[in-house]
């Protein structure tokens, strides 16, 4: 077990703040309606996540976490948002996106999910030290908010961004657990999947086929086949 950490210790406070910032950006993603703004928010979240990973590397003295941070920054902070913007330009989807729920309802659900993850994680991690506990609770919140975003958005591209943000939560969880092996390898594997998903949109040319990137058009095709 590492040293006891708590409020007022700089190591802890900064890690806490970075984790919190990732979570706040998740909320930003939830209410943002414009596609380009959603992509910008996602890139910001990835940059903050990279900072969080690097800080965890410093606090834990784990050199390999710097690598995770570098991968996160390069791929999720720069390359993926760049690819997403290219898709938006190519497929010409500069409009606002329909959501299944209103802003207030979505935010209320989001707050509920954060409360849920705190209630779930904090009581069961009493033996772990504070940094890991808080980090895990924040990470679970980010994962759940990502899922909420996937559920409330009807547009395939924003569903993908919801998924990407969910994966940010997973990396946040992995870097917060001290001494976990294979974090870099797992981060790379996650990244491969993300790249596949992002280019899945492009590759399948959903827009060209259905004249819109809305997932319920796809459902209609499915129903006709049944």
């Amino acid at each position: 077990m590492g040293p006891r950490l708590g409020f007022g210790v700089f190591d802890y406070d900064l890690a806490h703040m970075l984790g919190g910032a990732v979570l706040v950006l998740s909320f930003g993603l939830l209410y943002q309606r414009r596609v380009s703004a959603v992509i910008t928010l996602y890139a910001m979240q990835a940059v903050v996540l990279a900072a969080a990973a690097a800080w965890q590397g410093w606090v834990q003295g784990a050199v390999e976490l710097y690598l995770t941070a570098a991968i996160t920054l390069a791929a999720k902070g720069l390359a993926i948002p760049f690819g997403l913007r290219a898709i938006v330009r190519r497929l010409d989807i500069h409009r606002t996106i329909e959501t299944a729920l209103g802003i207030f309802a979505t935010m209320a659900f989001g707050v509920g999910l954060v409360a849920l993850s705190i209630l779930v994680v904090l009581p069961v991690t009493l033996h772990a030290y504070a940094l890991t506990r808080e980090d895990l609770a924040t990470a679970l919140s980010v994962v759940l908010l990502g899922m909420l975003m996937m559920i409330t958005r009807r547009n395939a591209l924003t569903q993908v961004i919801g998924f990407l943000s969910l994966e940010n939560g997973l990396i946040l969880a992995a870097v917060g657990v001290a001494g976990m092996p294979l974090v870099v390898e797992l981060a790379v594997a996650v990244l491969v999947m993300l790249v596949f998903i992002v280019f899945g949109v492009f590759f399948f040319r959903i827009r060209e086929r259905f004249d819109s990137l809305e997932a319920h058009h796809l459902d209609r095709v499915g129903r006709a086949q049944r």
Partner: protein, 485 residues
């Protein structure tokens, strides 16, 4: 043993051979020999997997215990017979203009990648490696499902991607929490991520964290096992992907996921402070069984119909694993094994029938017995086997599961029985419409015996195990059931 040495050991090679073969097929320009390379590589993987029971042991990355060895042999066997079937099926598809030459090669390469990553997931000792292998197998399967490039195939692979992507993401969260849970028992490092050390150390692990990990892993791997309510990807992926892939999807990816759940069950059962893993598994199993059994009646697409039947059987196996105890786990493993063989045979027959009749809706396929006796009889035998009717082996396994339920949870025997009867009834009804009645016109080429041979082999095994199970096999299954607590 070093990690590199381990990768080049026998269990490592079982997974490495198909992966290398996939690369080779991807690089070979001549698509006509790709099918034969596929068969040769799958045969090599099967031959290597057959040696696994003598190589038992746990390394840093790989684990060969009776359960892993059995599942690897089964998966590579189905991989081999399906590779054989694919060679002829895909050639017919290409002749009909539904797949062009580059896609033909992509198909064979992706098939081998899919097989290799499934074998890696089964044989891996490290939870992280298992996760990466499952994810990679998912990506390979998604790409192969989308290969026909029809609107419906793209929708199916998109749905598969998103649902299984979320499932697999939750499984990663579960893996991280599991590592944290093992902290008090095992010092940090690879040991706290290895099945071979996690299970014996379960008693000392942190109970409440194990619960949290269990929930996420159950949802994550349960999605891949097609357990309700996360089964929605399965019918689409089965119906729209190339049929040989449906045959492998149906049996193998589900087996991999259920193997993980079975190991997880052993882990949870070893800790007194953790929740009992049985009831959640039983609930999900029963839910899948009932939902699928009633859905069967409303299906109009043959491949979709059999995909629902797969969800049903996956539910039965999960229920048996949830019930626990050597006898129920024995029955569940037997059920899973026989179902894999029988369902692969059924999908191979349906694939051939839909090529013959030019469609996979029930209204396109009818009266097979009139013109295509061999195909109709094989299909009929396959459906009888899947429906759990004697003399096939699935009758034995379902009977064992029902008997165990009656003895230990009598009230649960009622929904279990209802599900099995309703499902079996729907299958028998469809058997009649497919094989008997007015023949529908043929719109495709007639294929030779070569495409039916794998189905005969599978059904012969299922039949022999139903009539008289050899003592050696009974002992083998008992060993596996005993080894997983």
């Amino acid at each position: 043993m070093s990690m590199v040495g381990e990768v080049l050991s026998l269990p490592g090679l079982v997974a490495l051979v198909p992966l290398a073969g996939g690369l080779l097929v991807g690089l070979v320009r001549r698509h006509d020999i790709a099918g034969w390379i596929n068969i040769a590589v799958a045969a090599a993987a099967f031959a290597l997997a057959c040696l696994l029971p003598w190589e038992a042991g746990a390394g840093l990355l790989l684990l060969v215990d009776p359960l892993a060895a059995h599942m690897a042999i089964l998966t590579s066997f189905v991989g081999l017979t399906t590779a054989w079937f694919s060679r002829f099926y895909i050639a017919t598809e290409a002749a009909a203009g539904r797949l062009d030459a580059p896609r033909l090669r992509q198909y064979h390469a992706l098939f081998l990648f899919f097989l290799g990553f499934m074998l890696l997931a089964l044989l891996s000792n490290n939870l992280g490696v298992t996760w990466v292998a499952m994810e990679s197998a998912t990506i390979a399967a998604v790409l192969v499902v989308g290969l026909p490039r029809t609107d419906a195939a793209i929708e199916a692979s998109w749905k598969y991607f998103i649902l299984c992507g979320v499932g697999i993401a939750l499984a990663l969260f579960g893996t991280i929490v599991l590592y944290l849970a093992a902290g008090p028992a095992l010092s940090a490092g690879l040991a706290a991520m290895s099945w071979s050390t996690l299970v014996p150390a379960a008693a000392l692990s942190h109970g409440p964290l194990l619960n949290l990990a269990f929930v996420f892993l159950l949802i994550g791997y349960g999605t891949k096992a097609g357990l309700a309510p996360l089964h929605a990807w399965m019918p689409d992926a089965h119906a729209e992907g190339p049929t040989p892939v449906s045959a492998v999807l149906s049996g193998s990816i589900l087996n991999v996921a259920l193997t993980m759940l079975l190991r997880l069950r052993g882990l949870m059962a070893g800790n007194a402070a953790a929740i009992a893993p049985g009831p959640p598994l039983m609930v999900l199993g029963l839910l899948s069984l009932l939902l699928a059994a009633f859905s069967l009646w409303r299906r109009r697409d043959a491949k979709r119909f059999f995909a629902f039947s797969t969800i049903e059987q996956s539910g039965v196996a999960a229920f048996a694993f949830g019930l626990g105890g050597p006898a129920a786990v024995f029955a569940g493993l037997l059920h899973l094994t026989l179902h894999t063989l029988a369902k692969a045979a059924v999908f191979q027959c349906i694939g051939r029938a839909s090529q013959l009749k030019g469609g996979q809706r029930f209204r396109d396929i009818g009266g097979l017995l009139a013109g295509h006796r061999a195909l109709a009889l094989t299909l009929a035998a396959g459906i009888v086997a899947v429906a759990g009717l004697p003399p096939f082996g699935l009758f034995t396994s379902e009977f064992l599961i029902v008997m165990q339920t009656v003895a230990r949870q009598p009230f649960l025997a009622v929904p279990l029985g209802i599900g099995l009867v309703v499902g079996g009834w729907a299958l028998s009804w469809r058997l009649i419409t497919l094989c008997l009645g007015e023949p529908t016109p043929d719109r495709g080429p007639d294929a030779g015996w070569a495409m039916l041979a794998p189905a005969w082999l599978h059904l012969a095994i299922v039949l022999v195990l139903g009539l008289a199970m050899p003592a050696a096999l009974t002992a083998w299954f008992t060993t596996i059931a005993g080894s997983v607590r």
